[in-house]
């Protein structure tokens, strides 16, 4: 399988799923996005990202428990796969290596 490209939003969703542990599903991702990143995202966009990530092999999923607020319907709980973690890691490594190449001066200005 060729190395799949990870988009910015996808990376964010993947990270959040990783941080949510066993509770990662569309609504909890949406809540986390709004709490931690202050991003209001439409739920359909999250669905789109989750299923795409699953298809790329970065996530796997299972059906989880239903609650009354869900109208008795099961939810799909996602978890990051090994491939997902390595993709996150690769992305992080790439960024930090680029960060390192930024000259100190400009860094200070920004600070």
């Amino acid at each position: 399988m060729s190395r799949a490209y990870l988009g910015e939003f996808e990376e964010l969703v993947l990270l959040i799923i990783a941080s949510l542990g066993n509770e990662g599903y569309a609504v909890s991702v949406k809540d986390a996005l709004s709490d931690q990143a202050n991003r209001k995202v439409n739920i359909s966009a999250i669905h789109s990202a989750l299923y795409r990530l699953e298809k790329k092999g970065f996530l796997n999923s299972r059906m989880g428990g239903a609650t009354s607020t869900r109208g008795g319907k099961n939810k799909r709980i996602f978890q990051v796969t090994a491939a997902g973690f390595s993709a996150l890691q690769a992305s992080k490594d790439l960024r930090s290596s680029i960060w390192k190449t930024i000259p100190q001066l400009s860094f200070a200005v920004i600070n």
């Binding site: 599903y25 669905h47 789109s48 609650t67 607020t69 869900r70 109208g71 319907k73 099961n74 939810k75």
Partner: protein, 888 residues
């Protein structure tokens, strides 16, 4: 759902979600949506949340591709099924004979099943159209004398219903029915055309409230209130009044139980065919109970000419109500209370009348028989099973041919499950094709069935969902049943043994196939012997010495219109003399009834000198002096009525009456006296040999001929030279002497044999189904023989080359089947014996179960299957061995 959660998510949104994500993902997605919706509802209110729910759903359009991704997984499945179907079609095309036999056989089986389903559906739908039918019952009276059962009847007295309504609170309403026994003549005075009508009922006004016979014109609460009113069916309205409005018109009624002018107060819509009550006219029962001498003067308990229906409260306990009724009858019916006879009431649900009635005095003439319905259900299933057995036989037999295919499939990685799946799909295809064909066959055959059973059935079941569900279930379970066994046999082959050059014919299934052939022959033998038995019994009954000479006898209905007590005797004498003077009429006689038409009066009687407690029932028929001579009764003692006396106080009785009333030997009986309940003391004038007044289903019963001027029927003994001329002469004389009376005649032997109509129908149905079953079995047999000769074609070739004769080859090829046939026949014999005995129990006079019953079905089967088998074996045995041996 909406009522439970008044503030649930908007329907539009859920609809969109379902469309966008498809059935499979809908659960998880809509669950997420719900959760968000609930959060928002708390913060922003229901309206806003709903709006955003819909908006989010609309935005979900971007995920449309998720659904198609999902269904790609499915298409891989359909692709396989497509492949299975393609294979199945190719297999069908490759062996056209086989396919035709399979599909056609199954289609016939299913078609017959469908038809019988419709028949049973109709037979069990009787009287269900009355709204209160669950609480409506017919009152049956069960008689016993000194603890010995005397039979159950539908006849009750007319006081029964009235008293019941007064005294039993659970009884909401009652209706009495009194048929116009013997019919009457109706005339529209405007045109003066008289018709004899049989289907008239005198009923209580509540009749139309309890029973749902809708009126086309008139108010159902009022139409029967006036004494001189008559309610007629639409058909009768056309018959008597043509295109005129029948309401308010007058009909003149003569004869029967109530004569006079009647005003049409209501017109009935056609009476449904599935009603046990079939009638053309309704008249108020008051006409009888208030005006008819015999009822007016009795207390309401003496005359059992009425049928009573009661409508009970839903909560009523049947046994309790029946017990109360028994007490009431004892309290009111003084004669009964004094006698040794006891009566208990049985409530028969109206919906049960059609299939579960075998009672005397039943006014329903179209009753069916639960036994017939059961027999035909079983036959339907049997025919279907035979067709499935064909399929199993042919597919397992063909297994060898397909061994290579299975081998190749297995070696390139087919799982056993997939192979089974494939063969089941094949059988499903055959079954479904057959099912479609079966619908057409059922439509085509239904008119034939109607012809046989004399009904007007239509395929109404196709309008019912329940029918389609069971039809589909049967088709699919049939596919599974008939497909699974071959599938397991075929898929179990080992690829190595199948692909090698020396293919070993699978022995597996051979015994099963033999077993199934025996089963088919067994069923066929049973059906043929059933048919044989039914016809043997019918012809036995028809050809039995009846003790009555019914040949060459023509009977006409006696006059009923414009009768005058003073002149009738004279007119009748004139009529008899004029007609009797014709050269081809040797005897003329008048009587109250004729053989096959029942008795005039049934009443209790006992020998003079013993207690009334010993009273037994006897059937009285009123006859004139020429009656015994016309019908050639054989006198054992005494004499017939004399021509001199117009009415004599004496009886002619039959042997059975001698025995029942304890009169000793025929000679001793003469001049002894009988006391006839409610009438007179009469001496015995003559004793005649027992005769069959009714069909041979009934035992002999005591018959008493009384000399009394009754001319309901006039019988002529004619010679068969010039029948049309003779009939014309009778009719002319009749019209001249009795103007305005309708002229109806029948030949007594035909009419008498009409009593066997139901048996004949049963026989015809049985024959048709047997033929079908045998045909389907033979189709299967043909297919099998074709297969087995083909697979032995080389052996035959070698045998021929070495000098075998055609006959010995045919014997070789057919021997196996003949042995199976023999086994089937031996197995069938005990069943035939037991079944035959129990079927004949209904008949008082039965044919002997001779050896023919066992041999004839066997012979017929041998002939039919020999023809089937030899068609193929002959071709094989005749073929040129060179061709056979060249094939590799």
């Amino acid at each position: 759902m909406n009522k439970k959660h008044p503030k649930g998510p908007p329907a539009l949104g859920t609809y969109l979600l379902k469309k966008i994500y498809g059935e499979e993902m809908h659960e998880e997605i809509s669950g997420d949506f719900n959760e968000v919706f609930e959060q928002r509802k708390k913060r922003q209110g229901h309206l806003m949340a709903s709006f955003r729910y819909v908006w989010d759903s609309v935005l979900s359009v971007r995920n449309l591709d998720l659904k198609s991704q999902n269904s790609i997984i499915k298409t891989s499945n359909t692709a396989m099924i497509k492949n299975y179907l393609k294979m199945a079609l190719r297999v069908l095309q490759k062996h056209p004979t086989n396919s035709v036999i399979n599909i056609f056989g199954l289609a016939i089986g299913m078609g017959v099943c469908l038809m019988i389903y419709q028949y049973i559906h109709f037979e069990s739908s009787f009287d269900k159209f009355h709204p209160g039918v669950d609480n409506t019952y017919r009152v049956l009276l069960d008689y016993s004398q000194n603890g010995e059962p005397q039979g159950t009847g539908a006849h009750t007295s007319f006081g029964l219903g009235v008293v019941g309504k007064q005294e039993i609170p659970e009884l909401k309403e009652f209706v009495r029915i009194h048929p116009q026994y013997g019919g009457a003549v109706l005339t529209n005075p405007e045109n003066g055309q008289p018709y004899k009508e049989e289907d008239m009922l005198f009923v209580d006004p509540a009749f139309l409230q309890i029973f749902n016979f809708p009126l086309k014109a008139g108010n159902k609460d009022l139409v029967l209130n006036e004494k001189q009113s008559i309610v007629i069916t639409e058909r009768m309205a056309v018959k008597y009044f043509g295109t005129e409005d029948p309401m308010g018109q007058v009909l003149q009624l003569d004869g029967g139980w109530a004569s006079g002018s009647f005003v049409v107060t209501g017109v009935l819509q056609p009476i449904p065919a599935n009603s046990h009550l079939q009638f053309d006219f309704l008249m108020p029962i008051k006409l009888l109970t208030e005006d008819h001498r015999q009822y007016k003067e009795s207390s309401g308990w003496g005359w059992n000419n009425f049928v009573t229906y009661v409508h009970l409260r839903e909560s009523a306990d049947l046994q309790q109500v029946a017990d109360k009724y028994d007490q009431l009858i004892l309290a009111y019916d003084q004669d009964l209370a004094k006698s040794t006879t006891s009566v208990s009431v049985i409530f028969q649900p109206v919906a049960d009348i059609h299939l579960k009635s075998d009672y005397s005095g039943d006014p329903a003439t179209n009753n069916g028989s639960l036994r017939d319905v059961q027999i035909f259900s079983i036959i339907a299933i049997i025919i279907l099973v035979i067709a499935w057995v064909n399929y199993i036989n042919l597919s397992t037999a063909r297994a060898m041919y397909r061994a290579k295919e299975v081998g190749v499939r297995k070696s390139i990685g087919a799982f056993r499950g997939q192979l089974i799946y494939q063969f089941v799909v094949e059988s499903a295809l055959v079954n479904i094709l057959a099912a479609c064909l079966a619908l057409g066959i059922a439509y085509m055959l239904l008119p034939v069935l109607n012809e046989i059973i004399g009904r007007q059935l239509e395929m109404t079941v196709v309008q019912e969902l329940g029918f389609w569900i069971s039809f589909l279930t049967i088709t699919l379970s049939g596919s599974l049943l008939s497909g699974l066994y071959p599938a397991f046999i075929l898929s179990a082959f080992k690829p190595s043994s199948m692909l090698g050059s020396t293919r070993k014919a699978s022995k597996g299934g051979v015994n099963l196939r033999r077993g199934l052939i025996v089963f088919q022959f067994w069923i066929s033998a049973l059906l043929i012997s059933g048919t044989y038995l039914v016809y043997a019994q019918i012809s036995y009954m028809k050809n039995q010495e009846l003790g009555i000479n019914m040949e060459k006898i023509v009977v006409i209905n006696g006059p009923e219109v414009n009768l005058n007590r003073e002149t009738i005797k004279e007119k009748m004498n004139t009529f008899k003399n004029v007609t009797g003077s014709h050269h081809s009429i040797s005897m003329v006689t008048g009587s109250g009834s004729v053989p096959g038409k029942g008795y005039n009066w049934r009443t209790g009687m006992w020998r003079f000198g013993i207690s009334e407690d010993e009273s037994k029932s006897g059937n009285v028929v009123f006859v004139d002096h020429d009656f015994t001579k016309t019908y050639d009764f054989e006198f054992l003692a005494g004499r017939s009525f004399s021509e001199m006396a117009s009415e004599e106080n004496g009886f002619i009785i039959n042997e059975k009456a001698l025995q029942v009333f304890g009169l000793g030997l025929p000679e001793e009986a003469i001049q002894q006296k009988l006391i006839v309940g409610g009438w007179d003391t009469v001496r015995v004038m003559g004793v005649i040999k027992d005769f069959h007044w009714n069909s041979l289903k009934d035992e002999h019963s005591p018959y008493i001929f009384a000399h009394q001027g009754s001319n309901s029927y006039i019988s002529f003994k004619i010679d068969l030279q010039d029948i049309p001329g003779t009939l014309a002469h009778i009719e002319e004389t009749y019209d001249a002497v009795f103007p305005n009376n309708p002229f109806n005649y029948f030949f007594l032997d035909d009419e008498f044999n009409n009593q066997y109509q139901a048996d004949l129908q049963f026989g015809n149905l049985f024959t048709s189904f047997s033929i079908l079953a045998i045909f389907i079995s033979c189709l299967g047999l043909f297919g099998l023989v074709a297969f087995s000769t083909n697979s032995r074609i080389k052996e035959i070739g070698i045998r021929k080359a070495l000098g075998a004769e055609v006959q010995s080859l045919m014997l070789l090829l057919s021997k196996e089947y003949m042995i199976l046939l023999l086994i089937a026949n031996v197995l069938a014999a005990p069943i035939i014996f037991v079944w035959g005995q129990s079927w004949l129990e209904d008949y008082a006079y039965k044919v002997n179960l001779g050896i023919g019953l066992y041999l004839i079905p066997g012979l017929i089967l041998v002939v039919i299957s020999l023809i089937t088998v030899s068609y193929k074996t002959y071709a094989a045995a005749k073929s040129n061995p060179v061709i056979a041996l060249k094939v590799e």
